[in-house]
């Protein structure tokens, strides 16, 4: 049974190599290629789900090459699987399956490389989720990155993809090298690469500057990958131009993986050494709130549907980060459920956008206004997914967001609830505005923003023919994903189970014992008391309220100009982001500048917050 751990990475990699080797033979047989890729992704999803269920009662460790640790020193590389890590990997595999099914009829002339790169991307994600070795984490991070850069530039005949891929690759590579520097730094101190072993070492020694610097450097690459402000600029450039099925993975899991990496690094290496200081928690909460607000404002302002969805992802990434930064089991559990719910509905939204692009040849909201009326099923799915994004009960997003709110409220941060409510309404409202305008022709077309119109006009159809009807293989995946997001929300036992998994994830001593001593931890020690996971009437009210708010905001945006009182030509959202827009310049030099400045500031704050400056 243990061999599952090796197979979940080896199978997609071998399949990618096989597809590539057999490329010339398969050139006329797309179906074989598609079926292989879908089959492999689905099989991997099932294997990971099995691991997830199996590890619910205790994490499991797998040592590659059979090199088990002796006397607390690891000489090999291990996979450490718990329900949260394998669950996230499983979500990725599900989304790859959906994306590959969608592209069955979507891309007509794709070469074998598309399938191979998607499977390699998946293998990178899985390795990243499960590994227990910090350098191995970097290797899979890079593998994921290289496959993602190549997939972003999949349509090199256009300008946008090339430019987006360049910005993506350069910013993320800088981040990866900073992370590697951090790994080298911590290795120079501890002489270990196994995360548990490093954690044990630095916890036994007094906290000093090297540990703080290494922590910040290691997470810098992950902060960039997860598009936390001010490291987020590359994301909209890349997400807006990547092929739609690839966007599903970028928004659905890749951003979240960066956050998972931060949580993993914190809870298996640095958490105890840093002493779970309130200062650290507050720093990351602030980053999360800043990201959530910035993303939501940009999202509402946007007219290019893929960019709009990308900014909504940034906003959600901020909320996930805040959930993790609460350093409570319920906060982490909320983030996990929220990631799953968001990943499913966001994937559905991107796939529906892909259908719109396929049928109507545009992603410009203004131009599309009222032109999607005949896409009835797509419209229903898109609207449902939009409501899910606005946390309508009983979607999984509602549950996850509710847990983060509960935990924040219980820990003296009730204002976060209000801020996040506003962000959700803004982002959800923007998506529902698109739904109402494009699919139902409600109200007036939103005004054209000349700059955005140019960007949206550039986006030509990714497909060649077959625009008369939507193939079933394109509409079924988003419909199933939305249903799955609903199912997550109605599983009654989900809350306690995920919270138990979060307690396990946050139990660093338990993690260390599992990895280094092969212990089976049946009862992990909670870092903070478990909180009630039941859904109260107030929760339902809040969720319904946020969805209702989003609907009202969407309608207001669509009918604004018809309101007699305010007929001043004013458009909601205009002007809100003007000062910020200048930062989103598209020049990679600027982006790297902000990364450097942002890291310098974070470093300074960390150093001060931990109070080390005096003790140098």
């Amino acid at each position: 049974m243990d061999q599952l751990f090796a197979l979940v990475v080896a199978v997609p990699l071998l399949a990618a190599a096989a597809i590539s080797a057999a490329g010339p033979l398969l050139s006329g047989r797309r179906q074989v290629l598609d079926a292989t890729a879908i089959g492999v992704a689905a099989a991997v999803a099932v294997m990971l789900a099995v691991i997830m269920v199996r590890t619910a009662g205790g994490d499991e460790v797998y040592w590659f090459g059979g090199f088990r640790p002796a006397r607390g020193i690891a000489i090999g590389i291990d996979f450490e699987a718990g329900p949260l890590s394998s669950g996230l990997a499983s979500l990725a595999a599900v989304l790859v399956t959906a994306a590959m099914t969608f592209s069955w009829r979507y891309f007509e002339g794709v070469a074998t490389y598309y399938h191979a790169l998607m499977l390699i991307f998946l293998a990178g994600i899985i390795g990243f989720c499960l590994t227990g070795d910090i350098f191995d984490l970097f290797v899979w991070f890079e593998l994921m990155g290289v496959a993602a850069y190549a997939l972003t530039a999949y349509r090199p005949e256009e300008r946008g993809p090339i430019q987006g891929a360049l910005n993506f690759a350069i910013t993320n590579s800088v981040g990866a090298y900073l992370s590697l520097s951090g790994i080298a730094l911590i290795y120079g101190r501890t002489g270990a690469l196994n995360m548990a072993q490093i954690g044990v070492f630095i916890d036994r020694h007094p906290l000093d500057r090297l540990v703080v610097v290494a922590f910040l450097l290691i997470i810098s690459g992950l902060l960039i990958k997860s598009a936390i402000v001010p490291f987020h600029f590359w994301l909209a450039d890349a997400h807006a131009v990547a092929p739609t099925p690839v966007c599903v993975l970028f928004s659905g899991v890749m951003v979240e993986l960066g956050l998972y990496g931060i949580a993993r690094v914190y809870w298996s290496m640095f958490g105890q050494a840093l002493g779970h200081r309130a200062a650290i928690s507050h720093l990351f909460l602030a980053l999360g709130v800043l990201t959530a607000v910035t993303g939501a404002l940009f999202c509402f302002r946007e007219r290019h549907i893929k960019r709009l969805l990308a900014f909504s992802t940034i906003s959600h990434a901020g909320m996930f980060l805040a959930g993790i930064a609460l350093l409570t089991p319920l906060g982490l559990a909320g983030a996990a459920v929220y990631v799953a719910g968001h990943g499913l509905v966001k994937a559905a939204l991107f796939l529906c956008t892909g259908i719109v692009l396929h049928r109507l040849g545009s992603v410009n909201e203004t131009w599309l206004h009222g032109r999607g009326r005949h896409l009835r099923v797509t419209g229903v799915v898109f609207t449902a997914a939009g409501l899910g994004l606005a946390d309508l009960p009983p979607f999984g997003t509602f549950l996850g967001k509710g847990y983060i709110d509960t935990s924040a409220g219980a820990h003296g941060l009730p204002w976060i609830i209000a801020v996040f409510l506003a962000c959700t309404i803004l982002a959800g409202g923007a998506v529902l505005r698109v739904a109402g305008g494009v699919f139902y022709g409600l109200g007036d077309a939103p005004s054209e923003d000349p700059e955005m119109a140019r960007a949206a006009a550039e986006e030509t159809s990714e497909t060649a023919s077959g625009k008369q009807r939507t193939p079933l293989t394109m509409i079924i995946p988003p419909a199933v994903l939305v249903l799955a997001a609903l199912v997550i929300g109605v599983i009654t036992r989900l809350g306690p189970v995920v919270q138990a998994a979060a307690i396990r994830f946050e139990d660093q001593a338990g993690y260390n014992a599992t990895v280094l001593a092969g212990a089976h931890i049946a009862h992990p020690v909670a870092i903070a008391a478990a909180e009630p996971t039941g859904i109260t009437a107030a929760d339902v009210l809040a969720g319904t309220g946020s969805a209702l708010g989003a609907v009202i905001l969407a309608l207001a945006a669509l009918y604004w100009r018809r309101l007699p009182v305010l007929r001043r030509g004013y458009e909601p959202g205009v002007g809100l982001t003007e000062p910020l827009r200048r930062f989103q310049s598209g020049v990679v030099n600027d982006y790297v500048t902000w990364i450097v400045l942002g890291l310098a500031c974070l470093g300074g704050i960390c150093a001060l917050a931990i109070g080390l400056l005096g003790s140098v």
């Binding site: 006397r71 607390g72 020193i73 002489g191 072993q197 044990v200 070492f201």
Partner: protein, 94 residues
């Protein structure tokens, strides 16, 4: 694992031979030169020299394996790939 890891080979601190210091200075200068040379083709040549300097440094760090890699990749393969790319984009410039 014991609290403080006992180093099996205790060596005096701060012993660095002159060779290592010299090459480190050269490497720092080389990196600066690579960045500051703005002529593309010349920059690739400087990069190749920088690759050789790094290779020598790695030899001084007792890493012959990495030396060999750095020589084949940093000093030969990458400059060639870069020159090919430059040849491709050269035409429309100036």
């Amino acid at each position: 694992m014991t609290a403080a890891v006992v180093t099996p080979y205790t060596v005096p601190v701060g012993m660095m031979d002159a060779l290592q210091i010299t090459i480190l200075v050269l490497v720092a200068a080389g990196a600066t030169a690579v960045v500051l040379v703005r002529d593309r083709v010349r920059q690739v040549v400087v990069l190749s020299v920088y690759g050789i300097l790094l290779a020598v440094l790695f030899l001084a760090f007792q890493a012959p394996d990495v030396t060999l890699s750095e020589l084949t990749v940093g000093a030969v393969a990458l400059p060639i790939v870069l020159l090919l790319a430059l040849a491709k984009v050269r035409k429309k410039e100036e």
